[in-house]
Every structure is written in structure tokens, then in C-alpha cells.
Amino acid sequence: MSSQDTPAVMAPAGGKTADKVFKGIAYACGILILVVLAAVFLFLFFRAWPLIGGDQAANSATISSFTGGKVSSFWGYVLPLLFGTVLISVLALLIAFFVSIGIALFISHYAPKKVATALSYVIDLLAAIPSVIYGLWGGLILVPAIYPFWNWVANHLGWFPLFAGPAANPQRTVATVAVVLAVMVLPIITSMSRDIFLQTPSLQQEAAYGLGATKWEMIKLAVLPFGKSGIVSASMLALGRALGETMAVLMILSPSVTGYSFKILQASQSNAIASNIAAQYPEADDLGVSVLIGTGLILFLITFVVNFVARKITEKASA
């Protein structure tokens, strides 16, 4: 085939290298996430190694010193912490989830446009408040302010095991921490869902309206299904944030040393892994740090499991 006959198909397209490089970078960034996570995992694993491969008597002694002699095995130490972490995070997510979706819908579909823009700013503002300030506010303002409410709850709904009284005063409890964490994760869910709800194709919304759907029915038919994947992602991010939150929990919660409890209105019932690490790390010796990092490793694994399960469930639900 002479060059003149060569169809234009063979004309090299400009930007091919850029295309390849770009793809390469995108791939590399994807892989980088894997590498970083593997590095974090290995780091945790090696720092926690003395727990497994080290002198078990010394381990027991270290853990005893953490717990005032109540517990000396690693599992006895970490499982209650894990329980508390999950309890706090799940409560926070439960509170935040519905409120967030509500606000996101309010902004995307209920409020008039001007108001909605203003409200969007408000939510961004909420997202912009740093966690140390939430810690300060939670510890200094919310704790005394919320006591009458929780006290009322304990007195009137105390039959429900979660709300068993008497409500601690000051309210440095799981319930209060969950509220603060809920406020902290709320903007994450809200902001992401709002952005997605706003993108719901108007074709689909009109399809619903055209069938005589009320606004709420339209939302159920068109907006929520469209936003589902985004809502799930946002909730997972929020849950991760709640699981890993350190400072706010540390500054508000009155922790327990060991033990499992659902009594969220009483003080010193539960503790969370991240804040426990922050509380113990500054004064911990080498072995102590290993124990703490071991608890971090467990949190890491649990986050993995929670996400894995959540993913499987949503996959099933959407299949």
C-alpha cells in the first residue's frame, strides 16, 4: 500500500502520548492507594509484633498496668474498646444519617433557590469547623447543656436498656459523644448527598411528577435511587470518620477501663480505640506503644470488615 493510499485512519492521532501518560498516572494513583494502605498495615503489624512474637509475660504486665490489673490479656483489653468504638460510631451515624439526608433534600428540593444557596453555605460552614473546636465546644458547652435532656430521657425512657439511668452528671457519656460525632460527620453526608441530589436528571424527576407523584413520592422514585450509591459512599466516609475520631472523643468522653455496656447515659461505660491511643501514647513505653498500635491494628481490620460487609449488603440490595 503506497503512502498516498494510506487511509486517514492510520494518521497518528495527536495526544496519544498524553493519553498514555494520563492513563498511567491514573493507574499509578489507584495503585498508590493500595501501596499506602499496605504500608500502613505493615507498619501497624510490625509495631504491634511484640504482642505476638514478644515476651508474653511482659505483655501481660503492660496490659495490666493499663487496666489497673483488671485485665492482662490483649483480647480482654481490645474487645471492650472495639465494642465501645463501634457503639459510638454507629450511634453517631444513625443520628447523622437521617438528619443529613433530610438537610440535603431540603437544600436540593425544598428550599427556594436563594435560601438553598445560603443554606449550602451554612452546611459548608458546619463542615469547616475543626474537630478540636468541636472537642472544646462539646466538653465545655454541650456537656452541661445537654444534661437536662438526657436526664429527662433517662427518667422517662429508662425502661429502654440503652437509656438506663441514672444519667451521669456531667454528661461525659457515650450519648453525648455520639451527638458531637454526629454533628461532625453530618456535613460529610449532607454535602455529598446534596451535590448528588442536585444532579438528579430532571427527566427522571419529571417522569415521577408526570405520574402524579407528590414531592416526597418523586423523591422516593427518582432522587433517592439516583443518589443511592453516593449516599452509601458518604455514609461509609462518615462512619470511617466516626470510627477514627480522636480528639473530640478524648476531650469529651469519660472512658471505662474495661467492660461492655449499652448504658449510653452513664459515665465510664465504654471507651474508643483512637482516643484511647491518644490518651495512653504520651506516657507509654515501647511495649505500651506496641499494645496501643495493636489496638489500632484491630480497628483497622474492623473498618475493613465493616466496609466489606456494607459493600456486600448494598451490592445485594441493588442486584
Binding site: E206, G210, L221, P225
Partner: protein, 259 residues
């Protein structure tokens, strides 16, 4: 029985832009009325004011009256939801609900009012509606597949099935056949003919043959100039419109017809 619609001195705005000006039209019950006219003259816009879909666009508003059996749709005490239930709509672009199966798509409207329909009633209804839209044979074996797995034309017919399944009083159709092949188009036209014994039908079409074939009345919309509001230029029964129009613009438009 279908219901009649009377539009009086209607001005339609998108924000500050007056899209359509001073429309006066009487749409007879149990008849098919076609809207024709050049692109951008406001056919879709007018159609969407007949079931209050227009107001869903931010900033859009309507002046004047739209009377459904004498009752102004735009009265304060009228609930747009019930208007839209009585006045069904099929859009220019097919828009099945992407997360729903074909079956669920058809039932979507009915489910709003009847939470609990027996399975057999539902099955009958689905079949009836899909047959009406000439889609039954193509999808009867995969009713539980997602609605968006269909071709464009299939999707549009699914949307027609969804709209008729709620059994509205008036059916508005915005170029329902523009994505359909001739066979499906014929089927939809048959459906329209069948429906008109019970309902009032308004259809926007670019296909003048279609208008001539199925419409009892035809409304010709026009634009004075680009950027100017559209308006109803001429309204007549279909025979007059296509054979002996009393309006120069309409005649010019129709005589340019083809195909």
C-alpha cells in the same frame, strides 16, 4: 370520560423571558388535538402548562387561566399532584426509572395510589399497558430486567405504557413517536385512537402526516422572530388545517410539508 381544557390568555415565562404569549385554545374532550409548529416556538412549553409541569422549572411561571372542565388549574386551592394524576404525560425523551424493572416501571404510577395491588391485578395491568404500547411481545419474557436495558424506541414505548397505566383523563404527549419505528408508531397511533374514546389527548408532533392522520383538531404555533415569544397562530379542525387553512403562515408551513 375525558375532560375538556380551555386555555385563556396564557403567557408563559422562563424567568423574565416570555416564551409564549397570549395563548387561547379550547381543547375538546374525547378528541385528539395536535400541536404543530417550528422548533422553539413553544409547543412543549404550552403542553407542559396543561398539567402544571412547567412550574417545576426554577423561575418558570404562567399567567392566565387553564380550565380543566371549567376549573382553573392554577387556582390556589388546586393541588398540582392531583392535576398531574388526571393529566398524564409522555415526554419527548424516554425517561424510564433506571433502578426499576420493566414491570415496576409500568406499575410506578399505580403504586402511588394503590399500595397493595394483588399480583394478578398487577400482572393484568402490566400486560394491558404494555400491549397498548406495542411492547408486550418484545419484553414479556424479561419483565424483571431493568427498564434502561431497552433500546431508545423500546424505552419510549415503556414510558407510554407507564403513563396509560394510571388511566388518566387527559394524556399529553410530547413527540411520543419521534424515536419510534413505523410499526411502533402505528401501534401508538392505534392506542391514541383507542384511548380517545375515553380520554382527551393532546399530542405535539413534527410529523404533519401524523397530525393529519390522528388529530381531530390541530393548533399551529409560530414565532414572529427569533428571540420573540411564540404564539398560537392558527387553530382549526384538522381537515381545515391541512386542506384549506385560513392562515397564510400556516399554509406556508404546511405546504412545505414533505414525507
Amino acid at each position: 370520560m375525558g375532560q375538556r381544557i380551555d386555555v385563556n390568555h396564557e403567557n408563559i415565562y422562563y424567568g423574565d423571558f416570555l416564551a409564549v404569549e397570549d395563548v387561547n385554545i379550547n381543547i375538546e374532550a374525547n378528541k385528539v388535538t395536535a400541536f404543530i409548529g417550528p422548533s422553539g416556538c413553544g409547543k412543549s412549553t404550552v403542553l407542559r402548562t396543561l398539567d402544571r409541569m412547567h412550574e417545576l422549572i426554577p423561575g418558570a411561571r404562567v399567567e392566565g387561566e387553564v380550565l380543566l372542565e371549567g376549573k382553573n388549574l392554577y387556582d390556589k386551592d388546586v393541588d398540582p399532584v392531583s392535576v398531574r394524576r388526571d393529566v398524564g404525560m409522555v415526554f419527548q425523551r424516554p425517561n424510564p426509572f433506571p433502578t426499576m424493572s420493566i414491570r415496576e416501571n409500568v406499575l410506578a404510577g399505580v403504586r402511588l395510589n394503590n399500595k397493595h395491588i394483588s399480583k394478578s391485578d398487577a400482572d393484568d395491568l402490566v400486560e394491558w399497558a404494555l400491549r397498548g404500547a406495542n411492547l408486550w411481545n418484545e419484553v414479556k419474557d424479561r419483565l424483571d430486567n431493568p427498564g434502561i436495558g431497552l433500546s431508545g424506541g423500546q424505552q419510549q414505548r415503556l414510558c407510554i405504557a407507564r403513563a396509560v397505566a394510571v388511566h388518566p383523563q387527559v394524556v399529553l404527549m410530547d413527540e411520543p413517536c419521534s424515536a419510534l419505528d413505523p410499526i411502533s408508531t402505528l401501534a401508538v397511533e392505534d392506542l391514541i385512537n383507542e384511548l380517545k374514546s375515553d380520554y382527551t389527548i393532546v399530542i405535539v408532533t413534527h410529523n404533519m402526516q401524523q397530525a393529519a392522520r390522528i388529530a381531530d383538531y390541530t393548533a399551529f404555533f409560530n414565532l414572529k422572530a427569533v428571540g420573540q415569544p411564540g404564539h398560537l397562530e392558527y387553530f382549526a379542525d384538522t381537515t381545515t388545517m391541512f386542506n384549506n387553512p385560513q392562515n397564510d403562515e400556516a399554509e406556508r408551513y404546511i405546504s412545505g410539508r414533505f414525507g
